[in-house]
């Protein structure tokens, strides 16, 4: 499988004397400005990489940090909170139902994987509430990169992650991929509407609608320009797009941090490129944390990955349950 190494173990321990890691991996070392290293080792995680910049965060006066107190917090659905076990009779009933009516499971899976699991994965990356401790990935976005803790910023981060999934979904068979994309967008806007009314305390429906139209046109812009960057196969265009959207066109941008985000995006796309349609469609993909790094696979490792996927989804001798049927390719 893909090798991902914790930023702390590679840097904190591998490079002794540069800093003292305290507690969690989030308190990574910080180089003093007089010992700034000009080299950029490849085993740096994007998080450590951004932290090694000597330039302190310069607040952007155009995007003030004006977060508001949430009225109440929306809860995640039970089936996304952790391990859920279903009673045997329900499972058996479900299998019989699927088999009897010949239900197309790839269509059903788009909702539970694309519209639920993958959506919550994207949502959680930049999710934060005022005066509450940040999650590991949120520390990267808000503390290390110094982005404002606002709803609009959360939206930018979420759409960036959704776009990465879009890139992979386009490479699935047309109908199935489109369905996954549709489900994730539907869920995003449904969630935004709920968050605006329940958490952000926007009581007027017409104002919510106006915000959502604005978010929608932003989404078209972000996805379009990120696609342009991907198709041009150039980091400079990707960096310019990220600067315009994620960094809000900040004139005092720290280029080291911009490079860290460019690297983060490239790293995720690489993992998405290596995962097969079947594994991705069944929800086996997880975003690599900003404090982890990915090493490119050797041809040998790629073969191992393919065999592992085949063993998991097509063991050969066992009978496949009706709910596990799929036309998605195991090899590609």
């Amino acid at each position: 499988m893909l090798r991902a190494t914790k930023g702390l173990t590679t840097i904190g321990l591998g490079r002794g004397g540069l800093g003292t890691p305290v507690g969690s991996s989030l308190t990574l070392l910080r180089f003093k400005s007089d010992t700034l290293s000009t080299a950029t080792p490849k085993d740096f995680s994007p998080h450590a990489f951004a932290r090694h910049s000597g330039l302190p965060n310069i607040p952007n006066p155009e995007t003030p940090n004006k977060d508001i107190d949430p009225k109440r917090k929306l809860e995640k659905p039970v089936y996304e909170r952790g391990r859920v076990t279903m009673p045997q009779w329900k499972k058996a009933f479900g299998e019989a139902f699927v088999s009897l009516f010949g239900i197309d499971m790839d269509k059903i899976r788009a909702g539970s994987i694309g519209g639920s699991k993958y959506f919550y994965m994207c949502k959680d990356q930049g999710l934060q509430f005022k005066d509450e401790p940040l999650s590991e990935s949120a520390v990267f976005w808000y503390e290390t990169l110094g982005l404002p803790r606002t709803f609009a910023q959360w939206y930018q981060i979420t759409v960036l992650h959704i776009w990465m999934l879009f890139v992979r979904m386009r490479a699935m068979p047309f109908k199935i991929g489109k369905n996954y994309q549709q489900k994730i967008v539907d869920k995003l806007f449904k969630d935004i509407e709920l968050r605006l009314s329940e958490e952000m305390n926007v009581l007027s429906g017409s104002i919510r609608d106006r915000y959502m139209k604005d978010f929608h046109s932003q989404m078209i812009g972000i996805v379009g320009s990120l696609d342009e960057a991907l198709a041009s196969e150039s980091d400079s265009i990707l960096a310019a797009t990220l600067w315009r959207n994620v960094f809000n066109g900040d004139r005092n941008i720290d280029v080291v941090k911009l490079e860290a985000v460019v690297r983060y995006v490239r790293m995720q796309l690489y993992v998405l490129d290596k995962i097969s349609d079947r594994a991705f469609g069944f929800g086996d993909f997880e975003f690599v944390s900003p404090s982890e790094t990915v090493d490119p696979l050797t041809p040998e490792e790629e073969k191992q990955l393919k065999t592992a996927t085949r063993n998991k989804y097509d063991p050969g001798n066992e009978k496949v349950l009706p709910s596990q049927r799929s036309v998605l390719s195991i090899d590609e």
């Binding site: 000597g54 386009r170 490479a171 489109k178 696609d227 196969e233 490079e259 490239r266």
Partner: protein
């Protein structure tokens, strides 16, 4: 404050930024020109004329899209407040500038694109093989050209581009 020795680094940054590709379509803000302006100001180098022109055009374009221009209101309320951007010049030492230059160079040379090379699977997606080609073609034309009647029908009926 930037020492006199730092100015070669700033010059290197500015020349590198000038080699960055220009945007295919116009945006409200451009990474390339805004950063050239910024680093010229930090290093005390004169800003190139075309960048100043571009900035003016962008400001004009912005004015026409804004319903309420907060800039004019701000100016009327606080006339003494300085209008120019604060680039925090004191923060930049030689080391920091060199580091910024390195990162910019990595971005320019597409270091991470080459390191995490993705293959045709994502770039020519099998669900929609024409997607990126068509997008780039449209952007090359400035994103303004409209589709003909029959191709438009085809897009609507098949959903593919």
């Amino acid at each position: 404050m930037v020492s006199k020795a730092a100015s070669p680094v700033v010059k290197k940054i500015v020349t590198l930024l000038e080699r960055f590709p220009k945007d295919r379509i116009k945006h409200h803000a451009t990474f390339r020109s805004s950063q050239i302006e910024r680093f010229c100001s930090i290093g005390g180098v004169a800003t190139p004329k075309d960048i100043i022109e571009e900035r003016k055009q962008q400001d004009e374009a912005k004015k026409s899209t804004l319903k309420i221009n907060t800039e004019t209101i701000k100016q009327a309320l606080f006339p003494e407040e300085q209008k120019s951007v604060n680039y925090q010049k004191d923060m930049f030492t030689d080391d920091i500038l060199t580091q910024q230059y390195r990162s910019l160079k990595n971005i320019y040379e597409s270091k991470w694109e080459k390191y995490y090379k993705i293959d045709k699977k994502l770039l020519v997606p099998k669900g929609n093989p024409n997607y990126y080609v068509r997008l780039l073609n449209d952007l090359e034309k400035g994103g303004q050209e409209k589709e003909g009647l029959f191709p438009a029908f085809k897009t609507i009926l098949t959903g593919k581009y």
